[in-house]
Amino acid sequence: MIPELGHVFLVLAFVASIMQIVFWTYHINSFNELALDILKKSALLNCIFILISFLILTYSFIISDFSLLIVSNNSHTLKPLIYKISGTWGNHEGSLLLWVLILSSFTFLVSYKKTHNNGELLFSIIGVQTLILCLFLAFILLTSNPFERVSAIPIEGRGLNPLLQDPGLAFHPPMLYVGYVGLSVSFSFAVGALITGKINKEWAQQIRPWITIAWSALTMGIALGSWWAYYELGWGGWWFWDPVENASFMPWLIATALLHSIRILETRLIFINWCILLSILGFAFSLLGTFIVRSGLLTSVHSFASDPSRGIFILIILVISVGGPLILYALKSSLFREQKVQFNLLSKESALLINNLFFTTATATVLIGTLYPLFLDAFNGDKISIGPAYYNATFAPIMAPIILLMAIAPFFNWGKGKSKNLLKIIAILITTSLVSVITLYTIDGSSIFAIICGSLSIWLFVGVVSDLIIKFTETKIKLNKVSNLFIYISKNKIGMNIAHLGVAIFLAGVTGEQFFKTEFSGRKNIGDTFSIGNRVLEFKNFETINGPNYQSEMGIFTLHHNSKFIGYLKPEKRYYPTEQTQTTEAAIISNFLGDTYIVLGEGNYETGWSIRIYFNPLVSWIWAGAFLMALGGVTSIIQNKKTFNNATKVSLNEI
């Protein structure tokens, strides 16, 4: 009975969304405050309906209601509670329900936030959001009903894919979805602007926090996924240029481009059409990502719940929700009046524009690499595979100039203004980078790419630190009290600096992991000692252990570094009887300098066990960097909100 209630609420939300769309299209040319109020309230209603439906599904998972098809297929009574809950979105139907829940929440949040005297725009934004919601609800109800019952109720469920029974994977999809769906807001802002035919600096100021939220969430979502792949798949790698990874990476690249170009729009009111196009493309890539993941069109290490028949439906949604706005764009984009602005070659405008040039080209490269095999197969039946080597040769050289620019661009001025510190900064940058090139070369000159990658990290780091120090000294606040630090931070906009610092840290991590990794693989028995670099490992013992829903074989190793005891490493091989699958659980000792990573293979007491050990220098900097990027995004939202409130009181000139 309870699951039926969940289904009813989902149908209610669907019917309500259809009515809202009819209402919206009816009033679109005769906008009034009352109509807006009705649409706002109904956005809240949709959100509540879907939330109830989602909670009911979660409840069904918690109580293991195996009369539901997806519960019996994806859950098990012995599974720990957290994975029963995360199992709600560990399958196709549930993850789509999560998707629409996030979408309706975003719609509600947009409508709830006070927009400044622009009800007409808000009216269109909610309308467009509801339209997307309606399409996705139709998709769920017609092809992927999460509340479908089974005729014969099984006694026990079939369990969740053990790879997904992991804390990283419990939070990765919701985070990623907040990113994907968050881009729908900037999409609706763009379509709203096309419908109303009005765009101004205020529009850009309002859209920016939404892009930033989506971007930060996407950054965290991708990082969590990569972290999970690193410790769970047991290959020691963190990014595989896999179609599903690319699917989340492309919207990220576009969102990054948009995040930068919207700065020009908000300050100078130029590149309006370009920003609108990017907003539409950002969400288009989100939908494309969903399509790639959900359709199983491309084989991937990440796709666990795919079904080709549903792919067509997502493709239809993609065509409607991107084709429509693009037609609208073609018809109406010429209406927007841009300011006549002049700027130097060395100005913020041109730097941000070049940033956009490289980011969109990089997106195109990833898109080509992801879809090319598919098109070639359709074209003449030839099958090819594209691996990391392709991206190293194309994507990496396209991104390198961005890093060069990233360090110096913050010192440029807007328009025709001269920047005073630029020459000195470039001198510092070149000196430190030369020093770093020489240092890295004398340590290990075997790989030119290692030197380039490491020096780029240092180049960027120097740039960001210089910018921070100059900002700091110009603030003229003495740092003799801790409380002054907060004043200092609140006086300066450092969101961008934090994010860029994150990129530098990330690059250092990449350099360490890609070029200075050492590894060992071979057969070892209990009592053996062996070394990797100046780390010494000893195989102490082997045990078999019973977990809540698995049996585990565990090797116990000790790690010494420079003859100092560091810790125990306990890699496992787990067997999940319900799912009849085996997983490897790598054991990792992680610190600031690097990770010691050990994977246990098959073996026995006579022959020993095959083991793989990696030492990955700086690898945790990769995720620390990603975290800093997301943190930078959040910081800039908070700081902009403050200045925005102040600015609206005083004037809008100097943002």
Partner: protein, 130 residues
Amino acid sequence: MKKQFCSILSICFLYITIISNITLAEEKNTQLNFLTNKTREIAQNIKCLVCQNQSIDESNSELAKDLKKLIEEKLNDGLDEDEIYTFLRERYGDYILLKPPLNTNTILLWFLPFIILVFSSIYIFKFFKK
């Protein structure tokens, strides 16, 4: 101003030292591996045909093990990297190579990104001139 640049420089050199120290501390000992570096380098560019998008270097499947052994043998027989790729291609088709070779099928794949870059740069440059 002097103070400012001194602090910038010192922080930056600290960063360089951290990074270089870490890489310095690790002497490479890849000799311990059963497989030679060359084999592993090649294996990274060979797709594991029975897996879900892994290279045979990463995979522990039987096919991957056999292929790695095969590559090792071929290397010992004196074949070079390209000859091994050709050998595998003839046996399994282009599909097995993770780094697609440049031919009529892949010419767009390899050059399109740079064509896009060149054309959009020209566009932007013209925009600047205006």
